[in-house]
């Protein structure tokens, strides 16, 4: 009964997806080959094209296809946004340069003026000038001054990260489109990208969940064999194949391990503290994306060549992490469903119990 918005998403996509995949699993093996053959031999072109199209779509709805589609979509988006946004000249940069010269000029005037040798007067004067500069600078910053030219900002990895942040709905916000065209395209990109991503999410979650379930069952059987006492019990399950429900603690362990890996990785690479790194991993995987820590995009750090590969690895880390979350979602939902059923049965029994008790008391009262 308890269902989330994500589940709404899921329900809608999963049905479409399972249907597609039921075709896809059968069709994926021969898809590449048939595509090649259909292009060469076109005896019945209409049917061939239809068949080819069917197989293509079926392939696209498998894990590989959707994954490839997501990555391709991100790369296309990255190039598009790069070309759009790189040419944008931040008007705030000029403004800040003007502020500099104005401030320097003011200080110079102050120094050459009469009371230059009165220290307290000079200090208060300079402080006032600096305060004006500071306020103007803050204003410029809030209007989009970033300390960098947009050409430096919109490198390919950063654009890739931006695309990922858009369609996974993380939204770091460290790099944002500034042009009107870029904003409009971002909206369009999100409109098409989010369903695609949800498709990927569900697909990945399903695959990973089944893999994990299989793995868990194997481990379970092994451990049960070791005990020996429950040997008959554990040998029983595989043949009639009752689904072993993976406990949610196992999912939590997996997620914890993944977050820990990410923590160590980012802490080593980015020189963050471990807490900051954990904070980044959790907020990213929860799709909050506060954006105060973004790998490779530190505003004060010069862009070196190593950060590019790091960004790509970060990309992979996030996509995989989303898949893992979907997996945990799948597995835990299954468990919760079982638990809910049990709870419902228990509740019904409890109600029945109360009812019988009430009836008996009622009867006793009527008897007297």
């Amino acid at each position: 009964m308890a269902a989330s918005v994500g589940e709404l998403f899921q329900c809608s996509v999963r049905r479409r997806l399972t249907k597609m995949r039921s075709v896809g699993v059968s069709g994926v093996r021969s898809s590449v080959r048939s595509r090649g053959s259909s292009s060469t031999t076109a005896s019945d072109p209409r049917e061939k094209v239809k068949d080819c199209c069917r197989k293509l779509v079926a392939f696209m709805c498998t894990q590989v296809g959707v994954g490839g589609l997501v990555v391709g979509y991100a790369i296309v988006g990255a190039f598009g946004f790069m070309s759009i946004e790189q040419d944008w000249v931040n008007p705030q940069n000029d403004k800040v340069a003007q502020l500099h010269s104005k401030c320097v000029c003011d200080i110079w005037n102050l120094t050459t003026s009469d009371f230059a040798f009165n220290e307290t007067a000079w200090r208060t004067g300079v402080d006032r000038v600096l305060r004006v500069f500071q306020n103007d600078f803050v204003k410029a910053y809030k209007e989009g001054y970033n300390g960098r030219v947009s050409k430096d900002l919109w490198t390919f990895p950063a654009a890739l990260m931006f695309c990922l942040a858009v369609f996974t709905m993380i939204g770091y916000g460290n790099v944002v489109p500034k042009t009107s065209l870029g904003k409009g395209l971002t909206v369009l990109y999100a409109v098409f990208g989010i369903p695609l991503y949800v498709l990927y999410f569900m697909n990945m979650g399903k695959v990973l969940a089944s893999t994990f379930r299989w793995l868990y069952r194997r481990l379970y059987e092994c451990s049960e064999e070791g005990v020996g006492d429950n040997d008959s019990d554990s040998n029983l399950p595989p043949t009639p194949a009752p689904r072993i429900i993976v406990p949610s603690t196992a999912c939590l362990w997996v997620m914890g391990g993944y977050v820990l890996t990410g923590t160590i990785m980012f802490a080593e690479w980015e020189g963050w503290e471990y807490l900051d790194s954990t904070y980044f991993c959790v907020t990213s995987l929860c799709k909050i994306g506060i954006g105060d820590f973004v790998p490779g995009a530190n505003i004060l750090e010069a862009l070196n060549s190593g950060s590019q590969t790091k960004l790509v690895i970060n990309f992979v880390y996030l996509l995989l992490g989303m898949g893992l979350i979907a997996m945990c979602f799948n597995l835990m939902r299954e468990e919760i469903r079982v638990k809910m059923r049990e709870l419902k049965a228990e509740m019904r029994q409890w109600l029945e119990d109360i009812r019988i008790r009430i009836i008996s008391s009622y009867r006793r009262k009527r008897g007297y």
Binding site: A3, W122, K142, I290, L351, Y362
Partner: protein, 594 residues
Amino acid sequence: MLDDPEDVAPGRCSTFLHYTWKLCSCVFSHVILVSLVVSYCIMGAFTFQSLEKNNEIKVKRNISKIRFNVTEDLWILFQGSEVLIEDAWTGKVRDRLKAFEQDLLRSMKSDGWDGTEDEAAVQWSFAGALFYSIIVITTIGYGHIAPKTQWGKVVTIFYAILGIPLMLLCLSNIGDVMAQSFRFLYWRVCCYVCTRKPKRGMSRRGRSIRGSSRQSGARYSGRSRTASFRRSARTSQRSADSALGLSECRSSYSDTDCRYYDDGDRDLVTMGRSNRASQHSRFSDTVLQVSSHRPAVLEPGSGAGSDDVLQGLDVPAAPVLSNKYALQCEERRSNTLPRGVNSATTKNSSSTDRLAVEKDGNRQQHHLAVDMSPPPPPLPPSPTPQTRDSQKSSVRSRGAYSGSYSGSGQHRYHGIEHRQPSPCRPRIMSPMGFAISRQQTQRQPKSPRLSRLREDADYDDCVDYFVDYDYDDYSSGPPSRSKPVPIWLCVFLVVTYILCGAVLFTKWEKWNFLDSAYFCFITLTTIGFGDFVPAKRVQNKDATVSIALCSLYLLFGIALLAMSFNLVQEEVINSVKSVAKRLGIVKDDEDDEE
């Protein structure tokens, strides 16, 4: 003797407990969940405020220290240089200023300085912290304020892990309620149009006799509607947006009404049964499945139906009533046949007193109608069984109608009609439509949530069916599909919401319109870049109001999105399926899922 109270009491008691349980779960799921989320937000606000406020004040104090250092350095620079050459000295000052600028940038980026040194205007005020906790648990994450202390980060992690599922639960719940009420409102307006228009049309044309029968029909439908909608009337007509969408829908539907009645009257007079059947078949895509399960379905259906009628319970009353009307509609439909046939069917079909009473009225209408109408061109060879069959199958198609909209069921329909030649089946109309629809939905393996949704939809569909049926039957346009709530309406609603938000924020925050629309979109999709955040740029006294406005806007917007997903998902799946089928991408036999 002792068994007697035991027989009576359990029924009463269990029904009482059942309804108490339902009420409790309803109250629990809606009120308690919302209040839980609200209290969670407030708790988070207090926690974050206490954790972060001191740090922010410290950062603010640090700024003046940084500036003091700059002044100090400049003084030293000034003292150190013996001859003051303008270019050299200004170059040095410029360098120092660049360093100062970097310091400022760092304190804004990493330490979360908001740009003012006023210690009274902190970002982590109660409103700001509340906004932050809402931003976290809705996973928007603007990032304009972020925790900077160690404990703040740790608390954020756990707060998010606990809060996000809670928020999703609450939002989906609200979305459910909103979807139900929206569906209800949507159909209510259509019903309204369908019931109000007959009077106008009648008076315009002056067909008094037919008009009276129609009026009674309208009365019936109206009554059934009120009875069945009483259940969900608690959430009616609250949201302005729904009303907006509704008015839109009304205007869109009203123009077809004229055609509708032209066609309707002509149909009633001249139309043969086969014509009707083809129209019915638009809804009868899944008839095949249902008919194959009919023997199993009939008995529970009849049992449940009689129970329902006798006990007069609330929820099952909806299908009974609606189908009663449907029955009346059927009778009206068959009024081109001889009167004897009608009376025969009436005799056969009167299973309860109430139905019979209804039908007395109907029979009178038939007298009138038969008097008026010319003899039907395609008279069936053996009227009684055929009529009954047609009625039965039409009812079945009505039951099977819910949720299956892809047409092309015409030949199937005819196939079924041929397949049921036995006239002596018990004709249970009212429960059957409902029971079949239920059976069918339960038969399909789905996630429990979906099936629950479908069941909910079934209630409504059973009730609302007539409207839809009439509308689609009589509209002379191309065979449009019947939809619970069309996709375009949901999309329109969301787009309108975004545009309204854009206008609002343009006014409030002095952004330009495109930026406001962009902000609304980015917020509602929970991307949340944070380049536009309300009350970020201007630190005025309206900040709190602006924050409250924004959080209300986004909470309601996300609930609206959830509602739209709720309404649209079936439609999208069906349309995608049909498109895929038409393209030949997915074969028909691979329809079964899981």
